[in-house]
Symmetry: C2
Subunit: 360 residues, 2 copies
Amino acid sequence: MTIYNFSAGPAVLPKAVLQQAQAELADWQGSGMSVMEMSHRGKEYMGIHAQAEADLRELMGIPANYKVLFLQGGAHLQFSMIPLNLLRGKASADYLNTGEWSKKAIGEAKKFGGVNVVADNKDKNCSYVPAFDTWKCDPNAAFLHYTPNETIGGVEFNWVPETGDVPLVADMSSNILSRVIDVSKFGLIYAGAQKNIGPAGLTLVIVRDDLIGQVPAGTPTMLDYKTHADNDSMYNTPPTFAIYMAGLVFQWLKKSGGIAAMEQTNILKANLLYAAIDSSNGFYNCPVNHADRSRMNVPFTLKDAALDSDFLKQADARGLLQLKGHRSVGGMRASIYNAMTVEGVQALVEFMGEFAKSHG
Amino acid sequence: MTIYNFSAGPAVLPKAVLQQAQAELADWQGSGMSVMEMSHRGKEYMGIHAQAEADLRELMGIPANYKVLFLQGGAHLQFSMIPLNLLRGKASADYLNTGEWSKKAIGEAKKFGGVNVVADNKDKNCSYVPAFDTWKCDPNAAFLHYTPNETIGGVEFNWVPETGDVPLVADMSSNILSRVIDVSKFGLIYAGAQKNIGPAGLTLVIVRDDLIGQVPAGTPTMLDYKTHADNDSMYNTPPTFAIYMAGLVFQWLKKSGGIAAMEQTNILKANLLYAAIDSSNGFYNCPVNHADRSRMNVPFTLKDAALDSDFLKQADARGLLQLKGHRSVGGMRASIYNAMTVEGVQALVEFMGEFAKSHG
C-alpha cells in the first residue's frame, strides 16, 4: 500500500531524498564514514555544509548582505532570540496576531520588551488575515513580526506587508520554500526545518547584516546571532546530519525546477483539496476566509463531528496518515508541504468523495 | 579497506546501529514512514522517545528523582542554562578549571553570576587533575561545576568530588556511558550527544528534581529546565531522528552487556594505546599525568613534529582517520569512544609501531 503522510510536522520528505540518504547512510560517497560520524571541522562535512548554504542562497535568491544561519532550538528559541537581538535598545516591537503561533511569539517577546499588537483576527476565530490598512503600526517599532502561514489555523498571507524602515520579521516555519518570496523585503526570516526543509532539530535563520551584533549585556552567547554569523554556524557543533538532509532537499528542489515550479505544484495541490471541500455540499467545511487559505495546511471539519473517528480510521486503512486536526481546533488537517505529491492529494480527495457519498 | 575513525566528535557510531538505521531509514518497522517523517505527537515516535529514556535510565541506574531531558544546543547552551537554572538566587558558583572545556563553561557562567575558580592546572599546561585537598571550595556555592573528561587535553577524573550539600554539576560530553557512575552523587549531568550517545544536535541533561524551576524572571522559556521537564522534552518539536539514533545506541549498549562491560573494553583499549606510546622510547609522548589519562581521548606528540604530516598521511592511507590533534595543542589525538573497536585500536597501535620503526 502506498502511504501518504499528511503530518503537520515533522512531515513527509521527498522519496528521492530518503532513498539517497539511505543509500549513503553508513558510507558517504566512499569515505567509509556516515555523515553522522564526520568531524564538523573535516573537509567532507565542511563541503556538505557549504553546499547546503550555497544551494539555499541560489534557490531563494538570498542577497549577499544576508547571513544564512543553521541553528538549533526550533521556532520556540527564535521567539526569544528575535527580541534579544533585534530590539537594539528600542522600547518595543510590533507583532501581528493571526493565530496560535503568533500568540506564542508574542507571549515570549513580552519577556524582553514592549509588544504592540498591531491587529488580530480574534473576532472571526482566527480565520483570516487582517487587512493591512487596519494595522496600528508604531513607526518607532524595533521590528514587525508576523506569521505568514499559521500551521494550526491554516491562514496564509498571499502578500508581504510593506513596513518601510521597520525591519520585517517572518516565521516561515510552515511555508518557506513553498512559494517565491523577495528576501530583500525582510529583515529576518526563520523556520523550523521539520516541514519544508528537513528533519527536526535544525532551525534556519536568514538575517540582514545590519541587524546582527546588538544584543544586551548578559545575553547567552548561543542566543546572539553574531556568535553564529561570525563562525559560519560552526561556533559549536552544528546538527550535521540534519543539515546534510536539508542539503539533499535543496538539491531535490533545484532538480525539480526550483521554487517557482514548486509553487505551481503547490497551487495545483491546494486547489484540488479546497475544491473537494467546497464542492461537498457542506459535508466538509474549511473555516478559513477564501483569499487567506493556506496552501500548506488545510484544516477542515465534517458536518457531523461524530463521523470524525470513522473518517480517520478509514483514511488510515487506505494509507492516508496523520489527518487528525490539531487538538486546539479539532476536525481534520491535511498538511500538503512540498514533498507531498499531487498523487497523494488526489488519493485524499478521492477518499473524501467516497466517504461523503457513503455517509452523506 | 576497513576504516577506523578516531574523530573527537561527531564520532564513530556502532556499526550495528548504523546498519539498523539504514535498513529502516525510509520505512520504520512497516509504518511506511521514516522516523524523520513522524509527528512527534504520534504513537510511533512517542514510543521511540519513551523507550530511549527508559533504556538510558536502566543503563545508568538513574534514580526516580532525576529528570532525563533531551535538548538541543550542545554543551555550549548548557554553559548558560546551568547558571541560569542552578544559581537560584545565590551569589556565585564554584568551577574547577582543568582545560579548554572548563574554560568555556567558566567564561559563559560569568555572564550570570559570580564564579569562584576552586583550582586549575595551568602550572603544568593543563596536564593533570588537581588534588581535591587543594581546591578552594565555597561552602555557600550554588553548585560546583567540573569537566570529568577534557576532550582536548585528554585529562580524565577517575574519582568523583565529594561536595556535600553543594550540587555537583558535570560536563560528561566525552565520557558519558563509558564508565559506571553513581548518578545520585550529581545534581546535574550533561552531555552533547555526538561522542558516546548519537548524532550531533542532541544534548542530554540529567537533573535532580529539586534543582528545577528557579530561573530568574526574564529567562527565555526554552532555557528553563522546567519547560522541558514538565513536557517530557516535548514542549517543542524535539530532534526526533537524533533521539531515535541515541535510542539505538542505548539498545546496542544493553546488548553489549551494559556500561560495566563497556568500561572493561574501554580500559583494555586505553591500556593498549598508552602502552604503545610509553614503550616507544620517546618516539611518541603523551603529556598527561599517568593517573589522569583519559580513556576516551588520547593526545600524543611525535618526538619530531616535522614527521606529523607524514604520520597523518600514512595513517589515512591505512584507513586510520581523523588523528590530527586539536589546533590548540597540535600533535595527534586518538578518540576511542565506546563505538571504537579493540580491532581499531590494535590497527592504530600496529601502525604506530611500524611508523616509529621506519622513522626512529
